[in-house]
């Protein structure tokens, strides 16, 4: 490619200046807004954090009766317009005979799992398949149906010509083919 002429350079710079928003004033921003330096987290971190939080919450509620039990949310008060408050003032003599913490736990469970477990990012992930159609094997090289597997590289292949290709692959390449279907060996 030919190097750009000065005129082209100049017009490109003009275009860049037009697109660049670094110098544009942004009066709608709060000048005192100072975000935390470490606010960027990846999904892995977030999921492990949230599952830890869930677990700890369960534990604290199981151990003590100090927390306020959640109210059963069967009434349509899930729009969040009102903060869940303590439920009705029911009295039960049998209740007095029970361990307070089990009681709280039971009540919480009833409240939370009224319509199955709560929806979280992790638990809506669909389960592995048991359907036989998912077991169909396809050639790792061409994608065609693969009746054979090479015992040396563990690659599946379509016919003897593809087998020739499989056996002539350079070192490490079979692994990257396996990686495509997540069958590669991961050293930890």
């Amino acid at each position: 490619m030919a190097p750009p002429t000065p005129a082209e350079n100049e017009s490109h710079q003009l275009l860049l200046n037009q697109l660049d928003i670094a110098q544009v004033p942004r009066p709608f921003r709060n000048p005192h807004w100072k975000p935390s330096q470490r606010r960027n987290k990846n999904v892995k971190q977030l999921i492990s954090e949230s599952s830890r939080k869930e677990a700890s919450q369960m534990a604290t509620q199981a151990n003590s009766g100090a927390t306020t039990p959640l109210v059963a949310t069967t009434s349509a008060s899930t729009d969040g317009s009102q903060t869940p408050a303590d439920g009705g003032q029911r009295t039960n003599i049998a209740q007095a005979a029970q361990n307070l913490s089990t009681l709280v736990l039971e009540k919480n469970a009833r409240a939370m799992y009224s319509s199955g477990p709560a929806v979280t990012y992790t638990n809506i992930e669909s389960a592995p398949s048991l359907h036989p159609s998912q077991q169909t094997r396809y050639c790792d090289i061409t994608g065609l149906p693969a009746p054979y597997t090479d015992p040396k590289t563990r690659l599946r292949y379509h016919d003897k010509e593809v087998f020739g290709v499989v056996r002539s692959l350079a070192q490490g390449v079979p692994e990257s083919y396996l990686e495509l279907r997540a069958a590669h060996v991961v050293l930890k």
């Binding site: 921003r29 999904v43 319509s115 992930e125 016919d159 997540a182």
Partner: protein
């Protein structure tokens, strides 16, 4: 164990006759690889903001915060005003010493900005991972939407979409940014696919939402999404283009150009489609018939190494120059020849004079003269004269252009041989010896000739016998030839295997070789100790035999060279006489590129010229066109350990809804939205496969969103124009009171988890 079966099994692909293959396919349609997706400058559109001044509480800024494209506009707009990928390129220009920031498509403007590209979303997920980029994108949107910030903030309600079951942390961060950085009066969150469903007037049904990062199945009853029964498959458009990129990199490991993800995304959008019956279509995908339509050629930019073409004039001048120099050379040669000729003539004259002079001299004097001339005797002189005459004649003839006929070899006679030695003088003896030599020469030649004739006769006899055998016992002859051919093929195969094995250090062949070398090395020092320090290798001719030992079996190369020739002969005979053996069966035809599956896979139904830069810069999409979109239905193809889309949907309908009434309500409206459902045949394939999981009489309706990509935004805008906005928004007051993780639940949004 060695496999000894040598039956020629011809797979179905080879059964097509070669005449069809020999007709050349039409030249391929070529698609160019996509340029970086820069879309030019977008001017701000402040008119919307002006319009919203009249009703600042109900005109909301609607942002569909998609991981592929962020769409933004006003709630009263029909279409989003700005659509851009959530990317940012921010760097400090060293030359101008200033900070630069480019957002969305602008970040693709040139190589520098592309090099600094950062994505807002965590790769492969619908969760925001880089909040600096997110803030940059929001800044850009508010700037372009004309927000003037007169009272120090974005003074309009904001409606945002978020993924299903969004994690708490991203929502918290988004709240903090919107309320604290932009001082928004209120914010509402909703789920994109539910907005899309509402926009398409759905009330009860099953939403299939396949988007950039994930695929969801959501049951909706009575306008309310049953999120606890929804399910997510971790596969979306982004995974598809990533998968295609990996496939292409492995398919063309030495591809000279750089393949980028955005190019692959473009290819997935334009050329991939969902197969109606995957296994059926796949098994025929690389068949020769109609392959030119299934195989797509993608051309990358290239520079052909062209030999500079010379103009007519230049060519003429070069030819003239060549001719000129040739003429000069010819002239020189002619002159030289003439000089030589003259010299020879002078010599001839001299020798002739000498001969004439000798006749008059005495014998003694004559010998003296001859000796002075370095001649042995008169016969020698005669010979010289004869030679000279002949050569002069020859060169004269050449100069005159006369074709010289080969002088017929005179009948040799050897009269002296019969004369006894005693009767001859010294010269006679010499002559006799000479004649004897000549005679044996002639005899040897005759013997060779006779031998040749005998050989010829023998061969003719063989051929005759062969013919006889063929005529009398055709079957036997045929089977003999066939086994012969198979044997040759086997030997060729073994030779190739041996060659291949030598490259492999662990193979038997190379281990034997190493053993031989080790033995030789072990022998060496002993010899040296015995024989002192000097290395006498090579003194004995037998020493060189070690090379033969080391080379082992593969030394007999002449024989190997012949295998191909032998095969040719046998195949020719079979072609001639065997009715079952056709052109298609020859080894040459079978190893032809049109028969090669791998060639078809890599290069389509066209020959490949490795010299051509144009062809080296081409990608061929064939199986990938259906292989890549298929993953949504069969995640195991790409190693995703989850059930396929149809299975998930069937599971939700059949297992989680016991009431048949609910089931049929779900089935009566299966709704598809999201960019990944845009593939051709997606709905049809889903319908066909889903039907197999349902009762026979179940009513099933599958429909697509009017615009699977933009309907989510449109639905959100529609929703924000209604009364729901005020009810479902978190106000600034509520944010300050209840914290940044507070969420108001509504029909189209997520539910609080804790």
């Amino acid at each position: 164990m060695t496999i000894t079966s040598v039956q020629a099994v011809l797979p179905g692909r080879f059964a097509i006759n070669s005449t069809e293959k020999s007709t050349a396919k039409p030249p391929p349609k070529v698609y160019n690889a996509q340029e970086p997706p820069f879309k030019g400058y977008h001017a701000p559109q402040p008119d919307g903001y002006q319009r919203s001044r009249s009703k600042p509480d109900t005109s909301a800024i609607v942002i569909d915060n998609g991981s592929n494209l962020v769409k933004a506009g006003w709630s009263f707009d029909k279409n989003p005003r700005f659509i851009l990928p959530p990317v940012m390129s921010r760097y400090r220009d060293r030359k101008l010493n200033k900070a630069c920031q480019f957002i969305g498509y602008d970040a693709y403007v040139d190589a520098t900005t592309r090099g600094q590209l950062r994505y807002a979303f965590d790769p492969g997920s619908s969760v925001v991972g880089n909040w600096d980029v997110m803030e940059g994108v929001l800044d850009y949107l508010f700037l372009k939407l004309g927000v003037d910030g007169a009272n120090g903030g974005v003074d309009r309600p904001i409606v945002m979409t978020e993924p299903i079951a969004n994690l708490n942390y991203p929502r918290k961060m988004m709240n903090e940014i919107l309320f604290e950085c932009y001082s928004a009066p209120s914010v509402a969150y909703g789920i994109d696919s539910l907005f899309s469903y509402r926009y398409n007037r759905g009330t009860d049904g099953l939403i299939i939402s396949s988007s950039h990062t994930s695929t969801h199945v959501i049951p909706v009853l009575n306008n309310k999404a049953l999120l606890s029964n929804c399910s997510r498959l971790n596969w979306g458009g982004m995974h598809a283009s990533e998968y295609l990129l990996k496939l292409m990199r492995l398919k063309y490991p030495t591809f000279p150009a750089r393949m980028t993800e955005s190019q692959m995304e473009d290819l997935v959008h334009k050329h991939c489609y969902v197969s109606k019956d995957y296994d059926q279509e796949l098994s025929k995908y690389l068949d020769w018939t109609g392959l030119e339509d299934r195989d797509l050629v993608v051309q990358y930019p290239f520079t052909e190494h062209v030999v500079p073409e010379k103009s007519e004039e230049e060519l003429a001048r070069i030819a003239e120059r060549k001719k000129e120099s040739g003429r000069r050379l010819q002239e020189q040669a002619a002159k030289m020849r003439l000089e030589k000729l003259m010299k020879k003539e002078q010599e001839l004259e001299y020798y002739k004079d000498l001969q004439n002079g000798l006749q008059t001299e005495t014998k003694k004097e004559a010998r003296r003269i001859l000796e002075a001339e370095d001649l042995k005797d008169e016969a020698h002189l005669e010979r010289i004269i004869r030679d000279l005459e002949r050569s002069i004649k020859r060169s004269r003839n050449r100069d005159l252009g006369v074709e010289e006929s080969e002088e017929p070899a005179e009948e040799m006679s050897f009269p002296l041989l019969d004369v006894p030695d005693e009767e001859l003088d010294e010269a006679g003896l010499k002559e006799k010896r000479h004649q004897r030599l000549m005679k044996s020469n002639v005899e040897a030649r005759q013997r060779a000739k006779a031998e040749k004739e005998r050989e010829k006769a023998r061969r003719e006899e063989e051929e005759r016998l062969d013919r006889e055998k063929r005529e009398n016992d055709f079957e036997g002859w045929l089977s003999e030839r066939r086994t012969n051919r198979q044997n040759i093929l086997q030997r060729i195969k073994e030779r190739d295997r041996l060659k291949a094995d030598l490259g492999n250090r662990k193979s038997l062949a190379s281990q034997m070789r190493m053993k031989t070398l080790a033995n030789l090395a072990a022998d060496g020092p002993k010899k040296r100790r015995r024989g002192g320090d000097d290395d006498d290798f090579g003194a004995n001719d037998e020493d060189w035999g070690v090379y033969r030992t080391v080379a082992g079996e593969q030394s007999d190369e002449e024989e190997e060279e012949d295998l191909g020739g032998m095969l040719d002969v046998v195949e020719k005979e079979l072609l001639e006489h065997d009715p079952e053996f056709t052109e298609n069966h020859t080894l040459a035809a079978q190893s032809d590129w049109t028969k090669s599956l791998v060639h078809v896979f890599l290069r389509g139904p066209w020959p490949f010229d490795p010299e051509s830069q144009r062809e080296a810069h081409q990608l061929h999409l064939n199986v990938e066109r259906i292989r890549v979109p298929e993953v949504v239905f069969k995640p195991s193809i790409a190693g995703v350990d989850q059930a396929g889309l149809v299975e998930i949907a069937a599971d939700i309908v059949n297992q989680r809804f016991i009431n048949p009434e609910d089931q049929s309500r779900l089935l009566r409206d299966v709704f598809m939205t999201g960019g990944n459902t845009l593939f051709q045949n997606f709905d049809e394939r889903f319908r066909n496969e889903f039907r197999a999981f349902l009762p026979l009489d179940a009513e099933l309706n599958v429909r697509r969103a009017k615009d699977p990509v933009l309907d989510a935004w449109k639905g959100a805008a529609q929703w924000a124009s209604g009364a729901d906005l005020a009810k479902s928004s978190i106000t600034r007051q509520e944010y300050l009171e209840k914290g940044s993780e507070y969420l108001k639940e509504h029909d189209l949004g997520n539910v609080t988890t804790w």
